[in-house]
Amino acid sequence: MSIKRLSPEESLALNKFAVDEGHPHIRVDKAICAICTDRACLVVCPARLYRLKDGQVSFEYAGCLECGTCRVMCSEGGVTSWNYPRASFGVTYRTS
């Protein structure tokens, strides 16, 4: 291996995650996101888990780095709840 540009997916693939299937720790209301014009989440989520699909904001909680930036930067309240993943789920950092 050598140093190369990594896509967000490639970056996340390096990490250890335990996904809590069926239990999203962050909830996003797409109806609110539909009227949002800022959509900061698309740019500032380090894991790039907020994406635009057919003009709609879509969100995937697997791969979350648990930083909180989306919650802080959400201007319209589309992030309706933000919690830490349940015990033993989410990211496990080994070298950070």
Partner: protein, 426 residues
């Protein structure tokens, strides 16, 4: 436990929580240290560098036991142009000779060690426990809830990090605002120690710390690089409000920085092994909430938004440890649960944490000068290019040439305005 009530429950086994639990347990208190990660440090990301005076305050000689990475003896400031870079390099072996000095750290190792130290002094460490809520009795916080379990204590120490969910649940203050934080992202890049030492011109137990500007697409923020044992931490901290306005994804900007010829030369042949993200308190004293306690609860570390960033010196973990120590001292000396909060504020003053924060209280305004992050580094590199170019032609007179570089990038009125703002901020 003879009694199912603790003297203190500390939530979060980071630097603040571990420092607090360690001191309380050492002084004979019955302490529960709760951590949501499967092990302490497994949810944490930092640049990171630790100024060891803080461990020394907790206990003289303690830093010698800590799993620190490399002693920083080389401080570097880098101004990046598109392909060029101008680096100021301050090498001083004296930087590491005695306390206070600083070391690069890896949180998975540092926090796990520190939590273990607290445990060895008698604290009960409970990893893999996510605190869902607080127990309130009248006006008092009386403990925590995690799932179906309730745990009670005289005091809850919120050391749960920048997201400060506990302080918000306690109604102490509202969520941190975007313009008061930085969003840090970083890659850990594995490289052999011998390669790191050779590239940075240090011995195997010594290291370099580097800050860089001119690599954020003009967004207020900067990059950092720390040499560890067998790895390099490379990342950027962005002002998220400005990042949101310009539209390019921050992870992509980090990739540009990583592939910059001047950076790539340092990490070439390495392998990225982890990608992390974390918010950091960014505006120092002015970002600290007014109320850091209520009866039965004190707020420490990142949760209290203690941080100092001068652009050159970036501090958080040391302040977290000092605040954890202040909380422990307050709890030890409080005569009632009502006393602990006000006493905590007194201890923060006594241990000089708040004085330090106040000394730097206007510093963050420098980061509001937009030209610092694009025009200034560009100008520096163009000036260097002018100074070092030899092409066999009659050169432009030096002063004229340099003034030309300056004028191309900034106007005289901007220089005066920025200079004045910088002067007023220091």
């Amino acid at each position: 436990m003879a009694d199912d009530k603790f003297d203190a429950i500390v939530v979060g086994a980071g630097p603040a929580g571990c420092a607090c639990a360690y001191v309380l347990a050492r002084e004979g208190k019955n302490v529960l240290l709760v951590e949501r990660g499967d092990s302490a440090g497994s949810k944490n990301v930092s640049g990171g560098r630790l100024y060891t005076y803080a461990l020394e305050m907790i206990e003289p000689g303690m830093y010698q036991r800590a799993p620190l990475q490399r002693k920083i003896v080389r401080e570097q400031i880098m101004l990046l142009g598109e392909r060029s870079a101008t680096t100021i390099d301050y090498f001083d072996p004296g930087l590491g000779e005695k306390v206070p000095q600083s070391y690069s750290v890896v949180r998975a190792k540092l926090d796990e060690w520190f939590a273990g130290e607290a445990e060895a002094k008698g604290a009960t460490l409970a990893c893999g426990v996510v605190v869902d809520g607080l127990i309130e009795e009248g006006d008092r916080i009386a403990g925590i809830r995690a799932g179906d379990e309730e745990m009670r204590s005289d005091v809850v120490v919120a050391a749960d990090g920048i997201n400060s969910l506990l302080a918000q649940k306690a109604g102490l203050f509202s969520d941190v605002e975007g313009h008061n934080v930085g969003t840090g992202i970083k890659e850990t890049i594995e490289l052999p120690d011998s390669v790191i030492s050779a590239r940075f011109g240090v011995k195997d137990d010594e290291g370099a710390a580097r800050v860089a500007i001119g690599c954020t697409d003009g967004i207020s923020g900067g990059a950092f690089l720390y040499t560890n044992q067998g790895s390099i931490s490379l990342g950027i901290v962005f002002n998220p409000v400005q990042a949101a306005k310009q539209g390019r994804h921050i992870q992509e900007i980090l990739q540009d920085f990583k592939m910059h010829p001047a950076i790539l030369a340092l990490i070439e042949g390495g392998t990225t092994i982890e990608y992390g993200a974390h918010m950091v308190p960014e505006v120092g004293y002015r970002g600290i909430p007014e109320r850091l306690y209520r009866e039965g609860m004190v707020v420490t570390g990142d949760a209290a938004r203690f941080g100092i960033n001068t652009g050159l010196i970036i501090r958080g973990m040391d302040l977290a440890m000092v605040s954890g120590l202040a909380a422990a001292q307050a709890i030890l000396h409080a005569e009632s649960t009502e006393d602990a909060g006000p006493l905590y504020m007194e201890k923060l003053e006594e241990l000089m944490l708040l004085g330090e924060e106040r000394a730097y209280q206007n510093f963050h305004k420098i980061f509001e000068i937009p030209r610092v992050f694009r025009e200034v580094p560009k100008l520096a590199n163009e000036a260097m290019q002018f100074l070092f170019t030899v092409d066999g032609k009659v050169p432009t007179p030096m002063v004229h040439g340099l003034m030309g570089v300056v004028r191309k990038n900034v106007s005289l009125s901007q220089i005066l305005a920025d200079g004045w703002k910088a002067y007023r901020s220091l």
